[in-house]
């Protein structure tokens, strides 16, 4: 396959108006990716699938990545697609698209109409990261139960407190345990210790 710059040019020629950015990952041995804006990700995907030079007929992986806000930079959720061509035996081309971390604005277009294999993987990304895929035929949770309200692979997810199995609870875990179970808080323990010494 051609160099990533060439691929970007070809995509820009057939999808005018698309904003495509090359993201070189570190270390450089990893695949460079094309970051596409939300409005043109479907068009760019369609181009890679249908263009006879690429024929990317297989989307092997859809996943989400959570980036927390860093200093002034806002955080975002990134959805990554890995495309391969079985017909031409080449790949991958990595497409990335970003969405806001705000749950109600966390939307990207679904690529399931292009690659049917994306269906379950996009459902997984929705389940674990809370990305809503527009035009997805059946966007439901796939791993967690329907009543579950959170998205556990987000970095700010807090699992339900389970201090109970900790063999030696300490610090705030101990405090929470004390509060929840009506157990003696550490301060009261100190008092007890003094009383025992006397």
């Amino acid at each position: 396959m051609e160099a990533i710059e060439k691929i970007k040019e070809m995509a820009l020629q057939s999808v005018p108006g698309a904003q495509i950015e090359i993201i070189n990952s570190t270390p450089a041995a990893q695949q460079p990716a094309l970051l596409v804006d939300r409005d043109h990700i479907y068009g760019v995907g369609k181009f890679f699938k249908e263009d006879p030079r690429f024929q990317m007929d297989f989307c092997s992986c859809v996943t989400g990545v959570d980036y927390l806000p860093k200093g002034d930079k806002p955080g975002f959720i990134e959805v990554v697609y890995h495309l391969y061509s079985i017909a031409q035996k080449h790949g991958p081309i990595v497409l990335k698209v970003r969405a806001s971390r705000e749950l109600d604005q966390c939307r990207v277009p679904s690529l399931t109409p292009l690659w049917r294999g994306c269906e379950f993987q996009e459902r997984e990304a929705y389940d674990l990261f809370g990305v809503k895929f527009d035009d997805h035929p059946d966007l439901r949770r796939i791993l967690m139960w329907e009543e579950f309200t959170e998205h556990p692979m987000r970095k700010d997810y807090v699992p339900p407190p389970d201090y109970e199995w900790e063999p030696t609870p300490h610090d705030d875990t101990l405090q929470r345990a004390a509060q929840a179970q009506g157990i003696m808080p550490p301060s009261a323990q100190e008092e007890l210790g003094k009383a025992k010494k006397k």
């Binding site: 339900p160 609870p169 157990i183 007890l192």
Partner: protein
């Protein structure tokens, strides 16, 4: 005439003499000719190659003799009563009175033995284990009814056929020919909880799966047992920090045997089955000590957790599971109570 008569007897005498001499002669010869070197180990009690313990004498409890004597008395009574009953019509009233006195004496003896508790099999026959196994070698089995009952149940444990994760592969291997769970009578994996005695929770229990596991346990008829197989089933294991993993199935249902391991080898599962068999063998049917399912008022259903917004609700069944406590958890009230 006289001569022939005595000569007829002479034959008998000759035969008798031959009959006595013939076996004695080789014995005598052997005694003279054979080398005789008796040693302690040659005179040992047993000939199995192992060090002998004790001698061939088995001490029976006095209780057995009481039983034997009582039995003999009543057997003799029957011997007396039978001809008496046959000739009953022709006998006088005096004979009837005499027989009644005889019967009454025996009844008195029986009542006495009963009152003394000699007929209470369990108390009179509290046989020690050594004697029991000694008797078993002679083909005599002494056991109370519940042992027979427990023996039957422990030898035909039917596990419920379901696996949750990689531990199930080891469970399948255990049931297959190489490890052959059939040796323990537990090879009949049932595909329905209604026919199963044992639930082997083989693998990670996700929170999404936990209600189904509890429901299956509820559907099993009593008596029922549970083996938690592997690190995940007993505690969450390597996934215990996971948002979707139940930290041990014993939070919702009572577990009889826990097996650690990731996954445990088939030998470990066999060990767990044998541990369970020992547990079943030790179960008492007497009131107060018997298992929970003989209690009319004990609940036989365990609440099925519901899918909540953040976690299963409730996160644990406090009736069967309490968080492990350490010394720091002791409340002031408890300390005061003890003091």
């Amino acid at each position: 005439m006289n001569d022939s008569y005595s000569s007829q007897y002479l034959f008998v005498v000759v035969f008798l003499a031959v009959a006595i001499v013939f076996p004695l002669l080789p014995l005598l010869l052997a005694r003279i000719l054979a080398p005789r070197k008796p040693t302690a180990s040659k005179n040992d009690t047993y000939e199995c190659g192992l060090t002998s313990k004790g001698d061939a004498w088995v001490q029976f409890r006095v209780g057995y003799y009481i039983y034997a004597l009582i039995y003999v008395i009543f057997a003799v009574e029957t011997v007396f009563l039978y001809p008496w009953a046959v000739a009953f019509a022709g006998l006088s009233f005096g004979a009837f009175i005499a027989m009644m006195v005889f019967v009454l004496l025996l009844v008195e003896g029986l009542v006495y033995a009963w009152a003394k508790g000699a007929l209470d099999w369990k108390r009179a026959m509290a046989v020690d284990e050594g004697l029991k196994s000694e008797l078993q070698k002679h083909g005599i089995f002494i056991l109370p009814f519940e042992q027979l009952y427990n023996w039957g149940r422990k030898s035909s444990i039917w596990p419920l056929q379901f696996g949750l994760a990689c531990c199930a592969i080891e469970m399948i291997a255990t049931a297959a020919s190489r490890y052959d769970l059939a040796r323990f009578g537990a090879e009949v994996f049932r595909a329905t909880p209604r026919q199963a005695d044992l639930m082997i929770v083989a693998g990670t229990v996700t929170k999404k799966m936990a209600p189904q596991v509890v429901r299956l346990y509820n559907q099993m008829p009593e008596p029922k047992y549970c083996i938690a197989m592997g690190a995940c089933a007993i505690s969450g294991g390597p996934f215990k920090d996971g948002y979707n993993v139940l930290k041990g199935i014993d939070r919702y249902i009572p577990v009889d045997v826990h097996i650690p391991g990731c996954p445990p080898r088939p030998e470990a599962l066999i060990h767990a089955i044998m541990t369970l068999q020992r547990k079943i063998a030790g179960q008492d049917l007497e009131k107060g000590r018997r298992p929970r399912w003989y209690d009319e008022n004990a609940a036989s259903e365990y609440p099925i957790p519901a899918y909540g917004e953040h976690d299963l609700e409730p996160p644990a069944n406090r009736e069967v599971w309490q968080p492990p406590r350490n010394y720091r958890d002791v409340t002031l009230e408890e300390v005061k109570k003890k003091a």
